[in-house]
C-alpha cells in the first residue's frame, strides 16, 4: 500500500515537473522583453571580474532600454537578462548553459567571464544552435574549432602583445631584438605566447628565454636571474593578475634592468595602485582604454562611458566591463538588422555585423573573433606617487609618447 502511494506521488511530481518545464520553455521573447541568458562568475576565484562583466551587461541593458529599446518588426522591445552564478567552475557553467536553454527557454546567450568558462559553454550553445555573443573569452582555441554560433567582441589572445614586439623592433632602428619571455601554463597565456612567436618570426627576432611558469608558482626569481644574465631587449610576461603582480614585485626587488617590459592584466591587477612607482614604465596590453576616439549613440565615447559607469557603480570601468557592454550593442544591432526573433536569422545578422561602438569597431572573422579592433598598449607613468596608464600604441590613438628605454634601477628614485 505504502509503495503504491509513493509511486503515485512520484508520478504526480514527474508530471508537474514536466508541465512546469514546458510552460516556461518559450521565454525567448516575453511580452515586450527579449530575454538573454548569461552564466557569470559571481562567486569563486573569478568573482571580481565576473562582477565587472555583469555590471557591463547591466549598464548596456539600462542604456539601450531607456533610449528606445530594440526595434523589431515595427515594435520596440526591451532587453532582459537571466543571470546564474557559475561559481567560476567550468562544469557548473556548462550545466547552467543547458539550464538556461532547456528550462528557461533562452534563445540568445551572453558569454561568461574568462576563456576557460567560455570554452565550457560554447559546445552547449553550439549544440542547441543558440547564438552567443561573448566579451571575455580571448583564447585563440575558441576561434579555431569552427563554431558557427560564437561571436567575440574582443581581440583574440595571440594579438595581445604582438604590437609590443613591433614597437621594440621599431625602437631598435628596425633591427631584430632579443626577446625573453615568461608565460604561465594556461590556455590564455600560452596563446599570448604563440602571438609573440609569430611576431618574432616575422621580425627575425631571437627568443633567448622561453620560460613556462607552472600555475601554482608564485616565485619568478629563477626566470628573472636568467633575464639579468642574458640582458634581452624586451621582457614579456603573462600570467594573469598573479603573474603581473609577482613580476613587478620581483623585478623591482631583484633590480632587474630591461629596456622594455611588456605584460598583460595590468589593470585587472591594479598594478599602478598596488605597486605604485615600482610598476612605472611597464607596458600593458589592453582591449580598451577610455581615451580612444571610438563613438556610438548609446554611450557617446569612452570618456563618457567612464564617467557614467563611475556614477552608476562607483569605480572606474575596467576593460572587462566595456567589452561586456559592447556585446549588447552588437545584439541590438543584429536583432534590428535581422528584423526577426528567429535564432538562425539573428545568427546570420550577427555574422554580418560591421559597426562602431564606443569600445571599438566590431566585425567578425570566420572563427567568430573580432578582426576590426586592434589591441592597444598603455604604459604606466607616475607623477609623484600617483600613477596613470597612458596610451602609447598604436600611434593613431597614442595620447602620450612611449618612454624607452626604461631607466636603470640605480637611476630610479
Amino acid at each position: 500500500m505504502n509503495k503504491i502511494v509513493k509511486l503515485f506521488i512520484t508520478f504526480i511530481s514527474a508530471i508537474t515537473l514536466t508541465l512546469v518545464t514546458v510552460s516556461t520553455s518559450s521565454a525567448k521573447v516575453e511580452g515586450e522583453y527579449i530575454v538573454l541568458g548569461a552564466a557569470v562568475s559571481l562567486t569563486g576565484k573569478y568573482s571580481s571580474n565576473g562582477v565587472h562583466t555583469q555590471n557591463g551587461y547591466n549598464m548596456a541593458v539600462e542604456r539601450i532600454n531607456s533610449k528606445g529599446g530594440v526595434n523589431v518588426g515595427g515594435k520596440s522591445y526591451k532587453f532582459e537578462i537571466i543571470y546564474y552564478d557559475d561559481e567560476s567552475n567550468p562544469k557548473r557553467a556548462a550545466q547552467l548553459a543547458e539550464r538556461l536553454i532547456k528550462q528557461d527557454g533562452v534563445h540568445y546567450m551572453l558569454g561568461p567571464y574568462s576563456s576557460g568558462l567560455t570554452k565550457a559553454i560554447a559546445p552547449v550553445t553550439e549544440k542547441y544552435k543558440i547564438p552567443m555573443v561573448e566579451a571575455n573569452g580571448a583564447s585563440r582555441s575558441l576561434f579555431t574549432k569552427g563554431y558557427k554560433y560564437l561571436f567575440a567582441v574582443l581581440s583574440p589572445a595571440n594579438q595581445y602583445l604582438e604590437v609590443a614586439i613591433d614597437l621594440a623592433v621599431e625602437k631598435n632602428g628596425g633591427k631584430p631584438v632579443n626577446i625573453a619571455m615568461a608565460f604561465e601554463q594556461d590556455a590564455f597565456s600560452q596563446d599570448v605566447r604563440l602571438g609573440i612567436l609569430d611576431a618574432a618570426k616575422r621580425t627575425g627576432s631571437k627568443i633567448t628565454i622561453d620560460d613556462k611558469l607552472p600555475k601554482e608558482l608564485n616565485d619568478m626569481a629563477a626566470t628573472l636571474a636568467k633575464v639579468k644574465a642574458t640582458k634581452p631587449d624586451v621582457l614579456v610576461v603573462s600570467g594573469h593578475t598573479k603573474g603581473a603582480l609577482t613580476a613587478i614585485r620581483q623585478i623591482s626587488e631583484m633590480k632587474v634592468d630591461v629596456p622594455m617590459l611588456a605584460m598583460t592584466h595590468c589593470d585587472a591587477a591594479k598594478l599602478s595602485k598596488q605597486h605604485g612607482k615600482k610598476s612605472e614604465y611597464a607596458l600593458c596590453a589592453s582591449q580598451w582604454h577610455k581615451n580612444l576616439s571610438y563613438k556610438d549613440k548609446y554611450f557617446g565615447g569612452g570618456k563618457k562611458y567612464d564617467k557614467d559607469f563611475k556614477k552608476e557603480y562607483g569605480y572606474a570601468p575596467p576593460y572587462q566591463s566595456a567589452e561586456s557592454s559592447a556585446a549588447l550593442l552588437v545584439f541590438k544591432d543584429a536583432f534590428e538588422r535581422a528584423n526577426s526573433f528567429d535564432k538562425d536569422k539573428v545568427r546570420d545578422a550577427l555574422k554580418a555585423t560591421d559597426m562602431q561602438t564606443f569600445y571599438g569597431n566590431i566585425k567578425f572573422g570566420p572563427g567568430g573573433q573580432n578582426t576590426a579592433k586592434p589591441m592597444i598598449l598603455f604604459q604606466v607613468r607616475c607623477k609623484g606617487d600617483t600613477c596613470e596608464n597612458k596610451v602609447v600604441a598604436p600611434t593613431k590613438w597614442a595620447s602620450d609618447k612611449f618612454y624607452h628605454p626604461i631607466p636603470k634601477w640605480s637611476e630610479r628614485g
Binding site: 568573482s47 607552472p214 601554482e216 608564485n218 629563477a222 636568467k226 614585485r249 631583484m254
Partner: protein, 297 residues
C-alpha cells in the same frame, strides 16, 4: 640556451640562495604540519589556507596603515585562537578516527575557508609592500630581496623558540608525551584534550607567521593555499615526523633542488622534478626498509 647556469656560475649562488630562503619559509609551515601530524595523527589539508588567512591578517594591517612586518606578531596570536576554535568545532570529533576521515574533514575546512576569504577579502590578488629594499652581493650579480631574508630570519627565530618551548615548558612536555603515547599520557594525568587543542592552535599560529611573511614576499589570493599544503606535506614526508632539523634540511634541500631544476631542465619542469625526486626518495626508502626486513628474517 644550453645551460646558462654553467656559463654564468654566479647564477649557482643566486639559485642556492633563492632556494634556501624559499625552503626555510616552507620548512616553517611544514614543521607545524609535522607537529600536529605527529601528535594528533591528522593530515591537515587546510594547512595552506591557514597560511593564506594569516597573510590576509597582515594584509589587513597593511591596509590600515600599519607596516605588514608587524603581522608576524599579530597574525600568530589571532591564528592561534582560530586554530583553537577549529579544534573545538571540528577536529576534536575526528582526532581519534581513521586518517581518511580527518583528511575529509580538513578538506572541508579548506573549501569553507577559501570561500569565506573570497567573501571577506575579495577575489583579487593582493600584495603588501614592505619597502625593505635589496641586498646586492658580488658586484650586483646576485640580488636578494631583503623581504626574503627577513622571512627566513623570522622563520628560523620562530622555529628555535618553538623547540625551546617544547623542551622546557610544561605544555611542551605534555605535547611530547601525548605524541609518544596518548593513552599513557592520559593515565599519567595529562589533559590530552587540552594538548590537542593547543597543538592545533600552535600549528595555526605558525601558519599565521608564514602567511604574514608571504604577504610581503609573494602574493595573496583566497585560492592559492593548496600549493603550500602540498609542499609542506612533501617536506614532512621526506623529513619524517617530529624532527625539526630534518624538516629544515629537507625544506631547504627541496627549495634548492627546485631552483636548480629550473635552470637546467626549464621552468616548466621545476615542480614536476620535485615530485620526481619525492618518488625516488620514497622508492629508495622502501628498498632500504625491505632489505632490513629480510635481514631480520
Amino acid at each position: 640556451m644550453d645551460f646558462l647556469i654553467f656559463k654564468a656560475p654566479i647564477l649557482m649562488v643566486q639559485a642556492s640562495m633563492d632556494g634556501i630562503l624559499l625552503g626555510i619559509l616552507f620548512a616553517l609551515i611544514a614543521y607545524g604540519m609535522a607537529l600536529q601530524w605527529g601528535v594528533m595523527n591528522i593530515i591537515n589539508i587546510a594547512q595552506g589556507d591557514l597560511v593564506i588567512l594569516g597573510g590576509y591578517i597582515a594584509y589587513s594591517m597593511y591596509l590600515a596603515g600599519i607596516h605588514p612586518a608587524y603581522g608576524v606578531i599579530v597574525s600568530p596570536i589571532i591564528m592561534f585562537f582560530v586554530g583553537w576554535g577549529l579544534y573545538k568545532l571540528v577536529i576534536n570529533k575526528v582526532v581519534d578516527r581513521d586518517l581518511f576521515i580527518s583528511i575529509l574533514a580538513t578538506f572541508g575546512i579548506a573549501i569553507l575557508m577559501q570561500q569565506l576569504m573570497n567573501f571577506i577579502f575579495g577575489a583579487d590578488v593582493v600584495v603588501a609592500q614592505s619597502e625593505f629594499g635589496t641586498t646586492m652581493l658580488f658586484d650586483n650579480s646576485v640580488t636578494l630581496p631583503n623581504s626574503k631574508i627577513f622571512s627566513a630570519f623570522i622563520s628560523v627565530l620562530f622555529a628555535i623558540a618553538l623547540v625551546i618551548y617544547m623542551k622546557k615548558s610544561k605544555l611542551g612536555r605534555a605535547i611530547r608525551a601525548t605524541a609518544q603515547n596518548a593513552r599513557a599520557a592520559k593515565i599519567l594525568g595529562v589533559d590530552t584534550e587540552k594538548v590537542y587543542a593547543a597543538t592545533f592552535g600552535i600549528n595555526a599560529a605558525l601558519c599565521g607567521v608564514a602567511g604574514a611573511l608571504i604577504s610581503i614576499t609573494f602574493t595573496l589570493h583566497p585560492y592559492v593555499g593548496l600549493p603550500y599544503t602540498v609542499r609542506s606535506f612533501m617536506i614532512v614526508i621526506v623529513a619524517g615526523l617530529g624532527n625539526l632539523p630534518a624538516v629544515a634540511v629537507s625544506g631547504m634541500g627541496l627549495g634548492m633542488f627546485e631552483e636548480f631544476a629550473d635552470y637546467i631542465l626549464g621552468t616548466e619542469f621545476r615542480i614536476g622534478s620535485v615530485f620526481m625526486l619525492l618518488v625516488f626518495i620514497l622508492v629508495y626508502r622502501r628498498f632500504k626498509l625491505s632489505r632490513k626486513r629480510e635481514y631480520l628474517k
